[in-house]
């Protein structure tokens, strides 16, 4: 939240900073008063009872009215910032990206181009994209603080979120609603690119990856089919892996995408992300080597 990269996030951070300023003043006031009375009116030996005062009606009215007025101002600012940070969505608008929360990964689809990927969301800078947030199982929550608010992914109830930034870069986020065993490793990676780069990325995603016809990668392609990996990983049960080689991370952020880590994952996913829905296939080292080559070549 300290580094907003969108106008939505900026509006929230601005209001937050103002609120923190007010909060600091109030806290200083209260702390100051408590410390003051604690020292000033400390009992000294030999003193009798102090003057017994029961109250003061005007004081009560004053310190009721003042906070109330302050809060009224904050309420107005709240309304204003709600509009800035969560602009309304004209009806009939089609989403630019559909983000579906699964236990414990994010399905990412671009309906207008047909691109399907997982966990890493590419965006063109300088454009406002409408994201549709859904869930395939339990309640998740999509949260990338630098971009703005979080939005819950609720099964049976679609939500919408504007995603936009003017600054190219990588912005990290996470699932923010406890969704089971591996909630901690349902991370989000938003990659904002200049429009040209984004287009290039989209085009690459729509092509089939170039897999060599011989060697480990070719063997891996075959294993991918024979060992039924393809069944889960193209039917939405597991993340789409068509271009997994071009991603920065694996398994929703738990590992950096390197051949070593890919091998580690395939050896036993349950040691990397215990409880995840990918079982241990007890693959042989040779099979893992081939699959790793295949997946890393799937750029």
């Amino acid at each position: 939240m300290f580094n907003p990269v969108s106008s939505q996030a900026q509006s929230i951070t601005n209001l937050f900073n103002l609120t923190m300023l007010i909060a600091a003043v109030i806290l200083l006031l209260v702390t100051g008063l408590v410390l003051y009375v604690s020292f000033r009116y400390r009992a000294r030996p030999g003193e009798g009872e102090p003057r017994q005062i029961f109250g003061h009606r005007n004081l009560e009215i004053a310190w009721t009215a003042a906070p109330a007025m302050l809060l009224a101002v904050l309420a107005g600012l709240t309304l204003h910032t709600m509009r800035l940070s969560d602009p309304s969505i004209p009806s009939q608008t089609q989403p630019d990206v559909v983000i579906v929360g699964h236990q414990w990964w994010w399905e990412v689809r671009y309906p207008k181009s047909g691109v399907v990927t997982a966990n890493e969301i590419h965006l063109p800078v300088g454009q406002k994209l409408l994201a549709q947030i859904e869930s395939a199982d339990v309640i998740h929550s999509f949260w990338v603080p630098q971009l703005g608010r979080k939005m819950d992914a609720i099964p049976g109830h679609s939500n919408h979120l504007w995603l936009q930034t003017d600054q190219p870069g990588i912005y990290l986020g996470t699932c923010a609603e406890y969704c089971g065993t591996e909630h901690a490793w349902m991370r989000i990676r938003v990659i904002a690119q200049p429009p040209g780069d984004f287009e290039a990325w989209q085009q690459a995603q729509l092509q089939s990856p170039q897999i060599p016809s011989e060697g480990d990668a070719a063997k891996g392609a075959q294993i991918f089919q024979e060992k039924t990996c393809v069944v889960c990983h193209t039917n939405g049960i597991g993340p789409d892996l068509t271009h997994v080689g071009s991603r920065d991370t694996l398994a929703a952020g738990v590992l950096e995408n390197t051949p070593t880590n890919m091998t580690k994952w395939l050896k036993n996913p349950q040691t990397v992300k215990p409880g995840s829905n990918m079982p241990n296939f007890n693959l042989s080292d040779a099979e893992i080597q081939a699959l790793t080559a295949y997946l890393e070549a799937s750029k």
Binding site: M1, F2, A9, I12, L15, T19, A23, L27, V30, L33, V34, V37, S38, Y41, R42, A43, E47, P50, R51, Q52, I53, F54, G55, H56, L59, E60, W63, T64, P67, A68, L71, L74, A75, T78, M82, R83, L84, S85, D86, S88, I139, W143, P145, R149, K150, M151, I154, P155, G156, H157, N159, A176, E177, C179, G180, T181, H183, A184, P274, G275
Partner: protein, 553 residues
């Protein structure tokens, strides 16, 4: 014939036979509000130690990034049990225990209106808590968080029986709590001695009264949600399963319709304790009694109107969100004025900083911090960023620990002498206080920042991002300092029970009726009662030249 409560063991006294009036069985069969109150306090203290242990385990796991001290399955059970324990088995029963012990004494009554119902409330609470903990050895503890959102809590996603124990245990605790609420209301409304009208009862009694009404109307939504969940899980029904037309959001509405008032249930009696402690150690009456009482009544009503501020990120629409935002800001007003009233009570006083007063004075600051972050959550867009992050974990620990628990510590140091006949050691008390203050702030202040920079709550680990490891380690160190403070506290209790200075009837020269009898009180509470013509009968007795009733108080 008076039977003092056997809490001050004398040396070389043989263990009483189970069948004698003073024996262990007398406790199990007791319907005396003082014994029941003490059992509540003892049980909640025991659960506090368990919940604290759970917290330490969590903090060890979170001390470094990518840690493997606890598996995710273990961590998730522990954080669920930590939250459930602290809320249902520690804070609420502790406050109910104090109310049970003190309210009849404060109004000059001999016992609660329904002594047997009182005993029932305690035992069903204990049974519910034990049932909940039984889950650990019966297939696994619940692991879906203390508010257990659907459909994660449905059998499709949570096959272990932990959740069934959770729901059943909480139903038990819930039934006991409602019974306790009824008992307290009827006691306060029908058992006051002549002269003790509602404008003269101690503020603790006012808070308990408002609280009991909140309990009466807030627990039913929880009970409804729990039975609906159990029916879904055990009878294959469809309340919360979206696949068959059920509504996960209904769980949230019902749960939070309970859950928000619940947090007021957890703070109101604490405010009552502060309202007793601060005046006595400042040697002045509470400033603005009517406003402190009246603002609490307002909070009682408003507490039901703010619940959906826990659902701002669900997507219920701006108008709905803003309505609850406005109500949540409104409720800050009656809350805030109390802080001013307490400070004004200290102003012009002759303040004695006993351990009790140290906790009460720092409560004012700790609770203000928690209250401020609460207001930030009323601001919808800020909530959109920070809910479900460590910022909210910091917020609620500041109000529940820095707030309620600090007030409870103040109350324990204040009323322990009345309950046991001995004073707690001030020396150990000061150690307890400073370790707690330092440890608590060390643990939780950094969590505000962790939330702001993006750390989500309920995560068994986190990536090695800049600053995350360092801040988490600070928090973990703080947690261990708190653990140490608790050990000091327990030590203080043990040592003081054995060798504490005898307290006498009124060690603090306080003014409310519980101090007009022996420490501990006899079974029938009072041999004689002073006349009640004001809020401070004992002040009037000690100051016949300047009694409160001359000022119309």
């Amino acid at each position: 014939m008076t039977y003092p409560i056997p809490l001050v063991p004398e040396t070389s006294k043989p263990l009483p036979s189970l069948l004698e009036p003073e024996g262990l069985l007398s406790w199990v069969a007791s319907v005396d509000h003082k014994q029941i109150g003490l059992m509540y306090l003892l049980a909640s203290l025991a659960f506090f130690l368990v919940g604290g242990l759970e917290a330490l385990l969590m903090r060890i796991q979170l001390g470094t990034p990518n840690n493997t001290f606890l598996s995710p399955a273990a961590y998730n059970q522990i954080f669920t049990m930590h939250g459930t324990t602290m809320i249902f088995l520690v804070v609420v029963p502790m406050l109910v225990g104090f109310a049970t012990y003190l309210v009849p004494l404060m109004i000059g009554a001999r016992d609660m209106a329904f002594p047997r119902l009182n005993a029932f409330s305690f035992w069903i609470f204990l049974f519910g808590g034990l049932l909940l903990y039984y889950s650990f050895i019966a297939g696994g503890a619940p692991d879906t968080g203390w508010f257990s959102y659907a459909p994660l809590s449905e059998r499709a996603y949570s096959t272990s029986t932990g959740l069934d124990y959770w729901a059943l245990g909480l139903l038990g605790v819930g039934v006991g709590t409602v019974a306790g609420g009824i008992n307290l209301i009827v006691t306060i409304l029908t058992r006051r001695i002549p002269g003790m009208n509602l404008r003269r009862v101690p503020l603790f009694v006012w808070m308990v009264l408002v609280n009991a009404f909140i309990i009466l109307f807030a627990l039913p939504p929880l009970n409804a949600a729990l039975v609906m969940l159990l029916i879904d899980r055990l009878l294959n029904a469809h309340f919360f399963t979206p696949a068959s037309g059920g509504s996960p959001l209904m769980w949230q509405h019902y749960f939070w319709a309970f859950g928000h008032p619940e947090v007021y249930i957890m703070i109101l009696p604490a405010w009552g304790m502060i309202s007793e402690v601060i005046p006595v150690f400042s040697r002045k009456p509470i400033f603005g009694y009517e406003f402190v009482a009246g603002s609490s009544v307002a909070i009682g009503f408003l507490s039901f109107a703010v619940y959906a501020h826990h659902m701002f990120t669900v997507g219920l629409g701006h108008p709905f969100d803003f309505a609850f935002s406005a109500a949540s800001m409104l409720i800050a007003v009656p809350t805030g004025i109390k802080i001013f009233n307490w400070i004004a009570t200290m102003w012009g006083g002759r303040i004695r900083f006993t351990t009790s007063m140290l906790f009460a004075a720092s409560f004012l600051i700790m609770f203000t911090i928690g209250g401020i972050t609460g207001v930030t959550f009323a601001i919808v867009p800020i909530d959109w960023q920070l809910t479900d992050s460590y910022y909210v974990v910091a917020h609620f620990h500041y109000v529940l620990f820095g707030g309620t628990l600090f007030a409870v510590f103040a109350g324990i140091y204040y009323w322990f002498p009345k309950m046991t006949g001995r004073l707690l050691s001030e020396k150990w008390g000061k150690w307890h206080f400073w370790l707690t203050l330092i440890g608590f702030n060390l643990t939780f202040f950094v969590q505000h920042i962790l939330g702001i920079i993006g750390m989500a709550r309920r995560a068994y680990t986190y990536p090695d991002l800049p600053g995350w490891g360092t801040m988490n380690m600070i928090s973990t160190v703080g947690a261990f300092v708190m653990g140490l403070s608790v050990l000091v506290f327990i030590w203080n209790i043990i040592v003081s029970l054995r060798r504490g200075q005898p307290a006498g009837d009124n060690p603090w020269q306080a003014w409310t009726l519980e101090w007009a009898t022996t420490s501990p009180p006899p079974v029938h509470n009072f041999d004689r009662l002073p006349p009640v013509r004001s809020r401070r009968p004992l002040w009037d007795l000690a100051h016949p030249e300047n009694p409160d009733w001359k000022h119309g108080k």
